[in-house]
């Protein structure tokens, strides 16, 4: 049976949520991670999205952070303002799980633009922007990143969400709480060294070598072994886990591009008729 790297990534991410914790989940991959946690080791975790649905128990992937139909009820309905202030700013959010398009060695993240902010050339590209990420990353106790299709870079094109800034105590000096705690890529898991706050390799996925990792990291990456720990080798998922995830979000088992093509084609008689002739 075959599986995709993103599937093991989702499973590993889910383990970051402890039982009873308040966890904010961003668009995409993080939602499935939240759902798995809630149904396995963290049944009392309070999962919420910035659109104000607090304590959701998703029976399938939310289309986006405001999708009202993927949960049978939730226990506290507030608006976006209240999520950020009364929960996050006050320090009641234990963790958030967000996506990153560019991430640097101190866990600072860009989700706004690749290239020049003013889109002066055809290669410059708008990304979605901050959404809720800036404040989540700046004020949650722990920030967890998932990197799918994003890049590890020496220098961000734009700093959307603060991580450990320049490392060391620079974040604390800026008056921000918490900070990035782990980064889940398609090849392995990264954490941050306690004092320098530099990202290091903490775990490797099955069938993956340190060399695979070095190919995607442009700086001289440290590993757990540099700090006297071992690089954990991640166990492959079980069939039951894969089955659950694919029920929850069928997209996970296939690539995003393939999925979108299938969706377009599925509008009966439309895509074929109009576009198929070209």
């Amino acid at each position: 049976m075959k599986y995709r790297r993103v599937e093991i990534m989702v499973l590993e991410t889910s383990k970051e949520i402890q039982d009873g914790e308040v966890a904010i989940i961003g668009q995409g991959i993080p939602m499935t991670a939240g759902a798995i946690a809630k149904r396995s080791h963290a049944p009392n975790a309070v999962i919420l999205t910035e659109a104000g649905m607090v304590n959701v128990n998703m029976f399938q992937n939310l289309e986006d952070v405001a999708d009202p139909g993927s949960t049978k009820g939730f226990s506290y309905s507030i608006d976006l303002f209240d999520v950020f202030t009364t929960i996050v700013h006050r320090g009641y959010a234990d963790l958030c799980i967000l996506g990153a398009a560019q991430i640097d060695k101190y866990g600072n993240v860009n989700t706004t633009v690749v290239g020049d902010y003013c889109i002066k050339s055809r290669s410059d590209m708008r990304l979605p922007g901050s959404g809720g990420a800036n404040e989540f990353a700046g004020h949650c106790n722990r920030t967890i990143y998932t990197v799918v299709g994003g890049h590890f870079v020496e220098e961000l094109d734009y700093l959307t969400s603060p991580g450990w800034l320049e490392g060391g105590d620079s974040r604390k000096k800026a008056g921000l709480l918490g900070g990035p705690s782990a980064v889940f890529s398609q090849y392995g898991i990264f954490r941050f060294e306690e004092h320098s706050k530099e990202m290091y390799l903490s775990a490797l996925y099955p069938e993956t070598t340190l060399e695979d990792i070095r190919k995607i990291i442009p700086w001289d990456l440290k590993t757990a072994e540099d700090f006297g720990k071992t690089v954990r080798e991640v166990e492959p998922p079980t069939k039951a886990e894969l089955f659950f995830m694919r029920e929850f979000e069928p997209f996970l088992g296939i690539s995003g591009h393939e999925g979108r093509l299938l969706q377009v084609k599925s509008l009966p008689g439309y895509y074929e008729k109009k576009e198929g002739k070209k």
Binding site: I78, D79, F81, N134, L159, P268, E275
Partner: protein
């Protein structure tokens, strides 16, 4: 966009009208137009109507935009955008209207965060000049890089109580806000539930509010669920009954996201030609939402709609309650007097003679 709050009122009266008339009457060229819905129940019907009526030079203010702002750009309606999120479906190969418009310098964008957009609307809704916001934005390029808002984008002061550095946003008071909700009464009391997002603060920040809704309901239903009302009647300029008014976005309790339709749009909108075809077919050649849905059914049949159906999950009924009237069978329990005794007492205590 700050203004001294003025004495103003939109008196309580019947506010129902055709969407066409509402847009014609309340949306002007050059307006700042706020989109209230946060990825849930996006007001597509109103947006299509604004495009058909060819409004120009709008400043769009929205916390999170999906394809609705692309449509407004396609329609040539937009010159500036204040936003914090602008949906991009999947990577470098997907160029759309925003990318083309930015490259051609037809529109200019100012980036915020969902929270700071919401805080600007809220400051406007409360009648304040400014509100404090969370500090993290100061450690980002959202703070550093400024386009048309310049020094009025964000400011930093020292808290006069603690001396702590505090970031402030200015108030945003759009000329007009548009919003789609589940239901409203004819006076305009608008009810919304599901994910609340930025609906309340965005709507209440504006001078005029155009509401479209899935259904107009009797005021008695509103009075039995006052906690669902997000916009009160006296703030609303127009309320328009427009079933399916948010398609292809979802409306809690009414319909689900039309993923297929959105994917079809994303596919077409990659090319200028495809985008034009979409606009022609789904916006310009259509005159209202009923025609739009008729066209949808004709094009795709009933089958895709069946996946948009929502299962029933009814809200719990609680007792809102009301008390006994003071007078029960000619006995006033509040004073422990019979009606006769009461009348006698009023004659004793009366000061003037009728």
């Amino acid at each position: 966009m700050n203004r001294i709050p003025e004495l103003k009122t939109q008196k309580s009266s019947i506010k129902t009208m055709e969407l066409k008339d509402a847009v014609s009457k309340f949306v002007n060229d050059g307006d700042t137009l706020a989109l209230c819905n946060f990825l849930h129940a996006n007001p597509y019907a109103i947006i299509h109507e604004i495009i058909r009526q060819e409004r120009k030079d709008l400043t769009i203010a929205v916390a999170s935009a999906i394809e609705e702002v692309d449509l407004l750009i396609s329609g040539g309606c937009v010159s500036k955008i204040l936003t914090s999120y602008y949906h991009r479906a999947g990577g470098r190969r997907y160029k759309r209207e925003l990318d083309r418009a930015l490259f051609d310098e037809k529109v200019i964008i100012e980036d915020y965060t969902n929270f700071t957009m919401c805080a600007m609307f809220m400051a406007g809704a409360l009648g304040y000049d400014f509100l404090p916001v969370m500090k993290s934005i100061k450690e980002s390029d959202i703070f550093n890089i400024r386009t048309f808002k310049q020094e009025n984008k964000l400011k930093v002061i020292k808290s006069p109580f603690t001396g702590k550095e505090t970031v402030l946003v200015p108030a945003l008071n759009p000329d007009v806000a548009i919003v789609h909700v589940q239901r409203a009464d004819k006076f305009g009391n608008a009810q919304f539930w599901g994910s609340e997002g930025t609906v309340k603060w965005t709507a209440l920040s504006a001078d005029k509010i155009i509401v479209s809704c899935e259904e107009i309901v009797d005021t008695e239903k509103i009075k039995r669920s006052p906690f669902l009302t997000k916009i009160p009647c006296f703030r609303v300029s127009a309320v328009c009954e427009v079933p399916w008014g948010a398609h292809p976005s979802p409306v809690a309790g009414y319909y689900n996201t039309d993923i297929m339709f959105r994917s079809m749009y994303f596919g077409k909108a990659l090319s200028e030609v495809g985008n034009e075809k979409f606009m022609e077919e789904w916006v310009y050649n259509i005159s209202n939402r009923k025609e739009y849905m008729d066209h949808y059914r004709e094009r795709f049949g009933q089958e895709p709609l069946k996946y948009l159906e929502i299962n029933e999950y009814l809200s719990d009924q609680v007792n809102l309650g009301y008390k006994k009237t003071y007078w029960q069978d000619d006995f006033c329990y509040n004073l422990a007097l019979s009606r006769e005794e009461y009348i006698e007492l009023t004659e004793e205590e009366g000061e003037l003679e009728l």
